[in-house]
Symmetry: C2
Subunit: 211 residues, 2 copies
């Protein structure tokens, strides 16, 4: 009833609407973005994100930034979740082949849970997001590289390989994720086991490890 006289809804002119401040920060927008991407797939639009967050496009740009930056922020979250899951999976255990399998499987499970988000974040074709893709990887590789280096050093092995290995392993995990996501792969746990074989003993090593 408020002011029905002032034309309830038809043809609003531009301008800030009545009502107090918006209480929506970047985090809330990212939450909305995840919901939209989950629902609309990796092609979800910024506009849709704004609507889901109950705001308008320019606010998204003000709070989060361009699409590339949005993808970046979401990549941060996803990487954090993966690192987290990995840490929990390894909690306390010594580093061994068994814990390596768990590490890989935990990563695959996280991606399976966030299928579309993974595709959104690893997709993107402009130069901006191409480097963004690398950025996503870096967020995962940095802690991994640190862990590897520490472990290798403690074991008296060459530790200069850590960074290369970290990128390689993350790439391996991303491709495995894509494969698993798309069905067409065997059971994720089997895949994790195979990859653990490869990473742990190498191509030349240890025959007969079927399971």
């Amino acid at each position: 009833m408020k002011q029905t006289d002032a034309v309830t809804s038809i043809a609003r002119r531009p301008g800030r609407p009545p009502g107090g401040h918006l209480a929506i920060d970047a985090e809330a927008i990212l939450d909305a973005a995840e919901r939209v991407i989950e629902h609309d797939g990796p092609g979800a639009s910024i506009e849709a994100v704004a609507v889901e967050a109950g705001i308008t496009k320019p606010i998204v740009y003000a709070r989060v930034g361009s699409r590339a930056e949005l993808a970046n922020a979401l990549a941060d979250r996803l990487a954090a979740r993966m690192v987290d899951a990995a840490r929990r999976a390894l909690a306390g255990q010594a580093f061994s082949r068994a814990s390596l399998t768990e590490f890989i499987a935990a990563n695959l499970r996280v991606v399976l849970t966030h299928r579309n988000l993974f595709l959104y974040v690893t997709g993107g074709s402009t130069e901006q997001t191409a480097l963004g893709r690398l950025g996503l990887a870096e967020r995962s590789t940095t802690p991994l590289a640190a862990g590897l280096e520490q472990w290798r050093r403690a074991a008296g092995l060459d530790s200069t390989v850590a960074e290369s290995w970290a990128f390689g392993i993350v790439g391996m995990l991303q491709m495995a994720s894509l494969w698993v996501i798309d069905e067409s792969s065997p059971d994720p746990d089997r895949v994790a086991d195979h990859l653990a074989d490869l990473l742990w003993w190498g191509m030349a090593g240890e025959p007969g490890r079927t399971t």
Copy 2:
């Protein structure tokens, strides 16, 4: 002279122009696409490809298909080049750690030579191209998996890991490529050497292999 009265050039109406058939097939368009991508970066447009090929957009769609299909076709070519380079690098040699290094280095070199093409082909965020990305990988993994399986079987080792390994290795190579492309990585040959260490002996194996 023809019909100068009918306005020589301004405001051509739509329609097929005079002159014989176009002699431009899909291959020629893909060649043009590679040139444009090389020059304009991974964000190159279909229109630009058409212009470079000396034709118009609908012809591109008629001969090659949508953007996703274009990327797919280019992925085929790139994968073929990589497989080719790898075969040449390994020609005749027995499979060994040294030849593994060569295999990796050869792949990195191909990507470095076609930086933008690689980004174009591995980019893309719609669901279509996401599965396309997997398709690209498959083109590389299929021969690799076959080779691995054969080799493992001959060596009396478990060969059911071949497919998982192939995807994992291709993922590792793609991420390494991205890293190398973006500068910020050490010398490609060093990276190849590190990854060969990982793949050959595994994380647990052989201390002290520095170079």
